[in-house]
Subunit: 307 residues, 4 copies
């Protein structure tokens, strides 16, 4: 049986029959035209059923982002900034925050993380120097690439660096897989659970968690693809439900085997304009990160320092 694959907790929850699940709290609200869903996984059994570790999952969703609406972008960046600010630890306020852009720059739908790193204001090297500014917080940023490019696992590199930099928090940005095509490019998920093996478009092999790295790990992701296998499986499930099941269950299983194993299973479904979606999303997420990490700087000051 082929698993329905999604990196969004809110979609994993939809996988179940929809009734309340013990050990999971779900909330919904709206702010500034952005729909917010909070999923809190509080016990291990619920975590196992959802395939998501215990913790908080906040999803911000705005369909107008796909239409590249300027106001929707600003609203999303502002809200992301506020929510990031809320989850950042207050202790060791002078220690750097380390922004990690996961993913592979040369595979378009996997390049969100490196794109955000390019647009993040880094300041750690200025502190103590003449350009220092009393209101500036320490930030460093890295895009560790992928295994095949460097021979070093992204997570190894992040761990080695964290040992050196001793960050107060690690902020990971990654491209995600979704289940519903309408979420691509318009949904941001914010979690405090770290990164699990097999998550993201790039399918990281190792975990990155507070245990492994010694600092809280916050992750920010946006869906950029659907796996073709997930899409097909959902279509069959829909058909099955509508048709009453049973009688042609055998046909469906057969079809799954035929269509989804081999070639198709490895394929991704993505909007034609994915290159532009990634550009936009990187700008919005970096703007939210810069606001959260530099609360005393204005947008204009940040922009001027980025040049």
């Amino acid at each position: 049986m082929i698993a329905t694959r999604t990196d969004l907790a809110m979609e994993a929850f939809e996988n179940t029959d929809g009734g309340p699940l013990p050990g999971v709290r779900v909330g919904h609200w709206e702010t500034d035209g952005i729909e917010i869903t909070e999923v809190v996984v509080t016990d291990n059994e619920a975590a196992r059923q959802l395939g998501k570790p215990k913790g908080n999952y906040l999803t911000l969703e705005s369909r107008l982002l796909r239409e590249r609406d300027p106001d929707a972008r600003l609203a999303m960046a502002a809200l992301l900034g506020e929510e990031l600010d809320r989850v950042l630890p207050r202790e060791r306020a002078n220690a750097p925050v380390m922004v990690v852009g996961l993913g592979n720059r040369s595979i378009t739908p996997d390049s969100l993380g490196p794109g955000v790193v390019d647009r993040t204001l880094v300041t750690r090297h200025l502190l103590g120097g003449p350009l220092q500014n009393a209101s500036m917080k320490s930030v460093c940023a890295i895009a560790p690439g992928v295994l095949g490019v460097t021979g070093i696992e992204s997570m190894e590199l992040v761990e080695a660096l964290a040992r050196r930099v001793e960050p107060r928090a690690i902020l990971c940005v990654d491209s995600l897989a979704a289940r519903d095509s309408r979420r691509i490019g318009c949904t941001i998920q914010l979690t405090d659970t770290g990164i699990q093996p097999g998550a993201g478009v790039g399918n990281h092999r190792k975990a990155l968690t507070e245990q492994s790295v010694g600092a809280p790990v916050i992750s920010v992701g946006m869906p950029t693809v659907i796996y073709a296998a997930t899409l097909a499986k959902d279509a069959f499930a829909w058909l099955n439900a509508r048709e009453g099941g049973e009688e042609h269950e055998a046909a469906l299983e057969d079809m799954e085997k035929t269509l989804l194993t081999g070639e198709l299973g490895e394929m991704i479904v993505t909007p034609r304009e994915i290159d532009a979606i990634i550009q936009d999303a990187a700008g919005i997420i970096a703007s939210g990160i810069n606001r959260a990490l530099q609360p005393a700087l204005s947008d204009a000051e940040i922009a001027a320092m980025m040049n």
Copy 2:
């Protein structure tokens, strides 16, 4: 009713019930591990049924290309070179051949044409100068971009330039949509029918034919995507055929409407490694073109002149 969309004549032919179609001749053979299919559409009624204009369609297919097999690449480039040489007009041998790379450089699966132009040996500007070489043929090349980038239709630009350059032939390279995912990245189609509106991943709005442009138009394409709508439609057709039809035809039609209109209809299905596939394919096709257009130069001489 949503059309099954493919730019490959050999797949359009498979759309029909498979029996012999009056006005279409199909041949199959193999050379050097490459499967060759020739479809010749000889009358208008067949052209209408297949949705492909009258003419010759030659398809070269090698599954080893997806595994990036070096020998398969060399064999494909060599065979493409021979076949191109066969279709190039013998008249006006000193007039330039104009290579046109259709598609949009910034949408990865649509960037095959510009990638080939980058790797084509252009010589038109050397003829008459000190670097001239008696055995060198005149070639110019252009990637006309896309409408939204320049405000000028690709085909307008090609026509305006053809009027100036007076080429003996125009060789168009484009990214195609296929129906079968196994053909992505391993199939090259060579036709003498020109480019029709709506063809290719970029969906050109205007035709480019010998009538419109005054020189024979040969096109070379490789499938790089499947439309999500095509994939879903094929799955339903398969299910319908297996289940005996009728009874749940209504369900299928309903599903089509639900799934394929709107968002999903605009999505593309593509291998994760599409960036690398495009790089490879551009290299193979450019190598075949360079061999065909410069029969008196060795591969090493061509490589040296490209630097």
Copy 3:
């Protein structure tokens, strides 16, 4: 004798002994912190002496651009927009303006033109369509690349296209060579004389003038390099002047021959941060062009349409 090479008329004028030159009118003023110099060459003898064709040369200069001052950028874009508006022909107001980005994208200091084309709002393809906007003016844009890349001279391509598009004006953008290193990245020259052979960093071989192309040719350029030969020659001249000349003139001539012929003569002098300078300049010039060509659209509307 090695010529001092500059593409700026205001520097060509400085080459002469500085006294008033018959047939040349020079004016200086300042607006919004920008120094403006106007050189008008009115007769052929003066044109020959300066090595610049008859016509108007307007230079806008702001040293703060090198420090990436945000206000200076806005002021420069606004002033360039006004000056362009002044020189654009009023006739045939519905015919398109054709923006031409000269230069080679893969040689950093020669890539200003293509960078501006990337940031120009093109609209010609929207007119007559559903996105049309009554206040929108027709604009198309092209970066014709370089001879070795396409086998087609930039100017040939522009001419062929102009014949098709019938523009009301052609606006050429190009990287220039200067004489004074302090002008690199902070000076914009606006002329109505067309492009002459040998001008620009890319050294175009053919002219582009109203005679050759049938529409007024306005050019906008920014210096991005100094030729090493020019720099050295100026240093010797300075030394000679200071030392009283004659006695070691022979030494200087000898040195010129030794240092400037061969290798050094082909070298360029450029700031280390040239990649960033080009990015900035492309943004400022495109902003000025967009304002001049779309007087009825606000900056925000232009930005929204660019996405």
Copy 4:
């Protein structure tokens, strides 16, 4: 007094009056059309005078590289491979070699290091997996970027990573500054002294040596620029020597001050075709490194694994 700046030991040696210098041994020979110069600095006083630490400096020079001669490239890659093999430590043969590409990808003349990393065969992640090959040596590679991009000093990142990877050697690649323009793009310097602060086009602030990092540090560099100040200073020195000195020494000093402080001092002199030179050089150096690090693999096997 402005220092003559060169990263090549053979040029630093030319700075002295040319006679034998105690504590320095110099040798010259030729192989396969490549001129080889070995400078061995054996005592501290000589190191101080030359401004280069004690150690071995091997320079390989081939003027044909600037003409992009294919045979010269192959010969250079082969010789570099042999020389690297000679200096690599024999101990801990199974520990990885760590290739470090210093410099900034977005400043063309400083991008040699990252370019070489892109072309280096990395294998460390394959060892122990199904693609392992008994004859494959462990290699990892990283381009640590620059301080302003990441907020982490390149050397900090390398040290942190070396602590994790425990390499048997570190191989640093960097863009260098030369004194003689004819050496740009055709000279490779190989040293066993580590990287010193202030060296390279990017001017690293911290040292990278066996003491700091716990593994032998071998560096490979190619000159890509001359500092404008160095060029001018050399011109004055030449003039001074020829003229007999003294009488216009004051004029020269004055000129130095005028010309070299401020703007010009920060400028670089580089060939116009620097982008192409960097591409070529990155290919040659990576080829030499791949040969030295994978002695049991053929060029064709390495090429196949790079895809």
